[in-house]
Amino acid sequence: MSYTVKHNISLTVLLFALWFGLSGLFDVLMLSLGIASTLLVVYFSYRMDTIDRQKHPARLTLQLLRFWLFLSREVISANIDVVRRIFRPGKNISPQLFQLPMTKKTDLARVIYANSITLTPGTVCVKVNRKAITVHSLSKESADDLRSGRMADAVPEDERDEET
């Protein structure tokens, strides 16, 4: 089976599951309307030629789950840190602007890395390119934490994808 066919099938299944989850209707008329609209959307996206370029990161699923656990732990501890800083009187922050080397080779991993930096309170990714990430951080501690590369190592990456 070619890649496009496989992708179309998985897109259809995913879209129909979404339709069913949002509507929750069982009668025949509604189900057939749901199937019809799903197929119509799959046909549109096929015509618009977006399918070959956007890939499902299906091979990464297990690693992604582990990464989400790591990320939620990071987000919670960063939240507590920022809330403490908000309520600490006097000089409570030490903003930094610095560059991190980009260690990821595929676009998907780069996006995940930059978005996770922004998602954790206390660090915001300002610029991304193939060589480096520019980050604004609220404190010296969170900047040092990012420099240690803990976050970069945790981001999953599929080496079999082509480099960009």
Binding site: V75, N79, V82, I86, P95, N115, T118, P121, T123, V124
Partner: protein, 102 residues
């Protein structure tokens, strides 16, 4: 059931408190870039606590599935919006107020 009710309200109240903390942070921090970090609180844990609390209220129904979908969309769109704001501010030449003793 009273147990679930109590847990759910603990989550909702934590979310509300975090939202207030984020609002105070927006006013306390000195410049645009550091205010973005305060917004990060309301984007992540405040929204997350609310959604968990409301999911416990609705129970295992289609409404909780929709709530989880809202969380997923927030999870992907909030960092993107924050990054777009920071990038645009940097492009238009807004200087960040940085710590002097770097």
């Amino acid at each position: 059931m009273i147990f679930v009710e109590i847990i759910s309200w603990i989550f909702i109240f934590t979310g509300a408190l975090l939202g207030i903390a984020g609002g105070i942070g927006i006013h306390r921090f000195p410049d645009f870039y550091s205010r973005l970090h305060a917004v990060g609180i309301t984007d992540t844990m405040c929204a997350g606590c609310f959604i968990i609390g409301l999911c416990l209220q609705t129970g295992f129904t289609i409404a909780s599935l929709k709530l989880l979908l809202i969380f997923v969309f927030l999870f992907f769109s909030c960092p993107t919006a924050t990054h777009a704001l920071a990038d645009t501010a940097m492009l238009s030449g807004l200087k960040a107020r940085l710590d002097k003793e770097q």
